[in-house]
C-alpha cells in the first residue's frame, strides 16, 4: 500500500477512537506505523481533526430551545417540567440568532397558522351554508301552521306578547275596517334565529242580531313558509280549507301579501264566513 492510499483510508478514523482496530484498516495502519513521513502526517492530521472537531461541535444551542420544542412538538410536555441539563453552550446565543429573533415564526408556527386559517375558513363556510340553507329551505308549511297554532281563545290570550322580531302588519283589503276589533298580538313558536316564529292576533267582528264572532289571524314571514308561493295574494283569492280541532271545525283562508303569509281562522259556520266576507270586501283593498 502506498502512502497516499494509506492516509486516505485512515482519514475515516476518528482520533482517539477504536476505529483503527477495524480489520479493513489493518494494512493502512501497518503502513503508517512503518513510514515515518506518513506517521508524522497522520499525527498532524489527527491533531487538526481534533481542532476542527472541537470547533464543529461548538454550536451554541439557542436559549429556551428545549422549552420551545416541548411546547410546540408535544404540548403536554410543558406540563411535565422535565429536568434539563443545560450545557454551557446554551448560555450563549449565537450571533446568527441576531438575524433571526426568537419571536420569528417558525415552520411549526406557520404550519399551525395555516391549519388554523384553514379551519376558520371551513367553519365560516359551514356557517354560511347553514345560514343560507336556513333561509332558502324553510320547513314550515301552511298545513303545519293550521295544525299547530292554538285556537282556543283562553290559550291564545295566555301566550306571551309578540316579541316583534319581525314587523308584523295587518293585511290590507278591509282588515283595517272599523268593524273589526283586534286584540293584542301574541307570539307563537320559536324561529331558527330565536324569537317568535309567528304573530297571532284575535279579532272580533259583529254578527247580525247575535253575539259577536271571533276569529284569529296568524302572521308569518313569507320566507319562513315553504309553500308560500302556492297561495293566493289576497283573502278573496286565498286558499280555503278546514281545520278540525277538539270537535270544533274552523274555516281557514291562507294567502300572501307583501312579506307575509296570513292564515285566517274563523268558526266554520255559514254566518261567520259570510259575515267576515262582507266585512272584508266592504272596504276595497
Amino acid at each position: 500500500m502506498d502512502c497516499r492510499s494509506a492516509l486516505e483510508i485512515l482519514d475515516c478514523t476518528r482520533a482517539g477512537s477504536h476505529d483503527l482496530q477495524e480489520p479493513e484498516l489493518f494494512d493502512a495502519k501497518t503502513h503508517v506505523e512503518t513510514c515515518a513521513a506518513c506517521d508524522e502526517t497522520f499525527r498532524e492530521r489527527q491533531m487538526l481533526d481534533r481542532r476542527i472537531g472541537e470547533l464543529m461541535r461548538d454550536v451554541a444551542v439557542p436559549v429556551g430551545l428545549f422549552d420551545r420544542l416541548s411546547a410546540a412538538v408535544v404540548p403536554t410536555l410543558a406540563e411535565e417540567k422535565l429536568t434539563v441539563v443545560v450545557t454551557p453552550a446554551e448560555n450563549v446565543t449565537p450571533l446568527h440568532r441576531a438575524t433571526a429573533p426568537a419571536s420569528a415564526p417558525t415552520q411549526l408556527r406557520r404550519r399551525r397558522m395555516r391549519i388554523a386559517a384553514g379551519l376558520a375558513a371551513c367553519l365560516s363556510l359551514v356557517a354560511a351554508i347553514w345560514i343560507f340553507s336556513g333561509k332558502s329551505a324553510p320547513t314550515l308549511t301552511v298545513d303545519k301552521i293550521r295544525d299547530t297554532v292554538p285556537l282556543e281563545q283562553s290559550v291564545v290570550e295566555q301566550l306571551d306578547a309578540f316579541d316583534e322580531r319581525f314587523a308584523a302588519a295587518l293585511p290590507g283589503g278591509g282588515w283595517d275596517s272599523q268593524e273589526l276589533d283586534f286584540d293584542v298580538m301574541k307570539g307563537f313558536g320559536k324561529s331558527r334565529k330565536g324569537g317568535h316564529q309567528m304573530a297571532l292576533v284575535l279579532f272580533t267582528y259583529p254578527a247580525r242580531d247575535k253575539s259577536d264572532l271571533m276569529g284569529m289571524l296568524a302572521i308569518i314571514p313569507k320566507d319562513a313558509v315553504k309553500d308560500a308561493d302556492t297561495l293566493g295574494t289576497s283573502f278573496a283569492s286565498g286558499q280555503g280549507n278546514y281545520t278540525n280541532r277538539d270537535s270544533e271545525v274552523y274555516a281557514t283562508v291562507s294567502w300572501t301579501a307583501g312579506d307575509f303569509v296570513y292564515v285566517c281562522f274563523v268558526p266554520d259556520t255559514e254566518e261567520a264566513r259570510e259575515r267576515l266576507r262582507q266585512v272584508l270586501i266592504s272596504v276595497p283593498a
Partner: protein, 187 residues
C-alpha cells in the same frame, strides 16, 4: 432515557437529543434560524413516525437521518444554500496544525461550499458520534464510498482552512522527502 427500552417516548428523544439535532441542523444549513426550524421539523416528523423507532439505541442515528431528509427536502424546495463544486475551488496546500488558523465563520463558510453528499459525512465524522460504518448506514451508501468522500472532504477542508498561499498538485508532489503524501483525488 433508558437505553435498553424498546419504545422511547418523544419527550425522552427531545430531552436527550435536541442539542445534537440542532447542532447537526446548524452545520447542515449554516443558519441558526433554519436550524431551529429544522429541529422542530425533525421532532414533528419523529412524533408522527415514532412507531418506526423500535429500539432506543438507534434513536440518535434515526433522528439524524430525519434531520438530513428534512434538510434535503428544504433544499429541493429552494430554501437551501448554494454550494459550489470542489472542482471550482482553487487548490491550496494541505494544512498543518501549526499554520491552520480558522474560526467558526470560516469553518461554516467552507462547510457550506461542500456539496451535501460530502458535507453530511464530514459533519457526522467530526461530531464523533458515528463511525464511518454508521455514517455509511445513515446516508445509505457503501462504506467505501463514505471513506472516499470523507477523505476528499477532509482534504478540501484542510486546504481551505490553511493560511498558506495557493499551490498546485504538481508543486505539492515535488515536495522533497515527503513520502508521496500527495492529495487524494479531488472531488
Amino acid at each position: 432515557m433508558d437505553i435498553g427500552r424498546n419504545a422511547p417516548e418523544l419527550s425522552d428523544l427531545i430531552r436527550d437529543h435536541y442539542a445534537l439535532v440542532f447542532r447537526y441542523a446548524y452545520r447542515l444549513s449554516g443558519s441558526a434560524a433554519d436550524a431551529e426550524d429544522l429541529t422542530q421539523q425533525t421532532f414533528l416528523t419523529a412524533q408522527v413516525k415514532l412507531e418506526q423507532l423500535r429500539c432506543a439505541d438507534n434513536a440518535k442515528a434515526w433522528l439524524c437521518t430525519i434531520v438530513r431528509n428534512g434538510y434535503l427536502k428544504n433544499l429541493r424546495a429552494g430554501n437551501g444554500t448554494v454550494v459550489c463544486s470542489l472542482e471550482s475551488i482553487a487548490e491550496v496546500a494541505d494544512a498543518t496544525p501549526e499554520n491552520a488558523q480558522f474560526d467558526q465563520d470560516e469553518l461554516q463558510k467552507n462547510l457550506n461550499e461542500l456539496p451535501e453528499e460530502f458535507r453530511t459525512p464530514l459533519i457526522l465524522f467530526y461530531f464523533e458520534e458515528f463511525s464511518y460504518k454508521e455514517i455509511a448506514g445513515q446516508v445509505g451508501v457503501p462504506i467505501g464510498t463514505v471513506m472516499s468522500r470523507l477523505a476528499r472532504a477532509k482534504s478540501h477542508l484542510r486546504r481551505r482552512l490553511s493560511a498558506r498561499p495557493v499551490r498546485t498538485v504538481s508543486a505539492h508532489d515535488r515536495r522533497s522527502n515527503q513520502a508521496v503524501c500527495s492529495e487524494p483525488e479531488r472531488v
